[in-house]
């Protein structure tokens, strides 16, 4: 909707673009290219304005936070100052001498630097989501193309999707222990349903005339799957993976409640129980920022893989 409005705005801004090329049989491609360019310009201007607005909100929040702690409105145990959080963040990434006489020093927290905690969590998410993507796309393809599979499995998939990971983490630990396997399994189970559902949606949503056209070009089922269904479903599958990574982030703290060190979720939890609130807040901010950055990466990959999205 927004896009069409922009396009028409740009079109009225350049009303008489003469098509210079004699090679264009319908005469309007050069024009439409200029329209697209003008629309892109408008879009980037709007993007800049939006970024500015978002940065403004951040400044306001930081200022309020600083003000509340500076005038000691709240006990620093509950809400530490931004400086304290920054300090905790820096300390968690370096070695500190704790005993001047012996020269004994402690590096990071819980024997790991903060970035090592983060890396450990990212690895778990990577393994869990990757396995979920492989299994989820496979099962989704099966369920969307073979109705009996869908009938048999859809209710159980919805059952699994509705369960909060915190609810069954205890059971998983009983089954497979408190090692990394329980964390992989929990993240896998959290990431699996959205990928299956997105794959089913993607395959079912393939335009019927795309398939008809391929069949009347002589395509058999494997060729339709390869040349038509898979590329057409890619956008939906990627948005399922995006959703799954989001779920995995929200689940990682639950997965790391027990024996979660190293792990950024485990660190956030343990520092909270030890009343090290500056570190807890630092962990939360890191988790949030990395999640946003990761989401940006997936979107970037998506735009690369599915450049036609929203254009057809």
């Amino acid at each position: 909707m927004e896009r069409t409005r922009l396009m028409s705005d740009a079109a009225s801004a350049t009303p008489t673009a003469p098509a210079p090329s004699g090679t264009d049989p319908d005469g309007d491609s050069a024009h439409s290219r200029r329209v697209a360019k003008a629309a892109r310009r408008g879009r980037s201007r709007r993007l800049r304005r939006n970024r500015l607005l978002q940065a403004g909100v951040l400044v306001v929040i930081l200022a309020l936070w600083w003000l509340i702690t500076a005038i000691k409105l709240v006990d620093p145990l509950y809400l530490p100052s931004p400086q304290a959080v920054l300090g905790a963040f820096i300390d968690a990434n370096r070695c500190l001498v704790v005993d001047e006489s012996s020269g004994r020093s402690v590096c990071g927290v819980q024997n790991y630097y903060l970035w090592e905690h983060l890396l450990a969590s990212l690895q778990r998410i990577g393994v869990g989501v990757s396995l979920a993507a492989i299994a989820g796309v496979g099962l989704g393809a099966l369920m969307s193309m073979w109705e009996p599979a869908n009938t048999a499995l859809a209710p159980y998939l919805n059952f699994l999707r509705a369960l909060p990971p915190l609810g069954y983490i205890g059971l998983i630990i009983v089954w497979v222990g408190i090692g990394d396997l329980s964390k992989f399994l929990l993240l896998f189970l959290a990431a699996f349903p959205p990928i299956v559902i997105a794959t089913i949606d993607g395959v079912r949503g393939v335009r019927e005339d795309y398939v008809s056209a391929a069949r009347s070009m002589g395509a058999g089922s494997p060729q339709i799957a390869r040349f038509v269904v898979l590329p057409a479903a890619t956008a939906s599958i990627l948005s399922g993976v995006r959703l799954a990574i989001g779920f995995a982030w929200t689940t990682v703290v639950a997965a790391e409640l027990n024996n979660g060190i190293p792990g950024i979720g485990g660190l956030a939890y343990i520092s909270g129980t030890q009343l090290k609130t500056p570190l807890t807040i630092a962990c939360i901010i890191v988790i949030g920022l990395v999640a946003v950055a990761l989401d940006g990466c997936i979107r970037w990959v998506g735009n690369r893989l599915v450049p036609w999205h929203g254009k057809v």
Partner: protein, 280 residues
Amino acid sequence: MTERANHTDRPDSADPVDSADSAETGSVVTLEGVSQRYITDSGDVVHALAETDLEIPEGQFVCVVGPSGCGKTTLLKIIAGFLDPTGGAARYRGATISGPGAERGVVFQQPNLYPWFTVRDNVALGMRMRKVAKKERTQKAQEYLELVGLADFGDAKPYELSGGMQQRAQIARVLANETDVILMDEPFGALDAITRARLQADVLALQRKQHRTVFFITHDVDEAVFLGDRVLVMSARPGRVVLDQDVTLSAQAGRSLGEEMRRLPEFIELRERIAGAIEH
């Protein structure tokens, strides 16, 4: 039905499947008492197509014209193999049609090139599926792009083309696939009048060069008379052919004419007659 010598010597005609019978008459598509009924969600039986007999000879450009809901698209889907008729038999070169096939290519009303391929790869896709070597299919795709006036747009993505250009590319995609019968379902219906007139003239010129067997659906009487060797008029509920009209002017003086054809008294007379048949 008209017999024209120049239509029987198509150089690249596909192998006849069987049936000496259809080979004798030269029919590419034969419909015998084909009908179509379906049941709506509310349980009513709709008679979309009454028993229809039709023979389409080699190289003929048949236009089907009629109001929406007259069963013309049903007819096309049956020939394409997208739909099994509930009565009668549909045959392609004597063999019963049991599904879609490369010998019956379809040009759809909405542009439906695959956006994940370039325009050239779209045109070459049928050949790719038949395992034609890459060099050969790229070269042939380029030839057909040139034929439809898109020589410089092979590397573009479909969504970078205008609607008219996308339809040209769709036509090239079907032509490049060695299609025997081309089925076109209101291919210019979604285009503006100017682009539409340009494409009609180009398709006419193309047909005079290639002599393909074409089954062309439109709701535009002028388009039907302009392009067709023969015009079928259909009426609705149940859909049936009410007029089967040869366009003789195109065999004579009109054959060499383009846009000027529309001003011939014969052309205008035919157009009126067909428009009259639709109203009844």
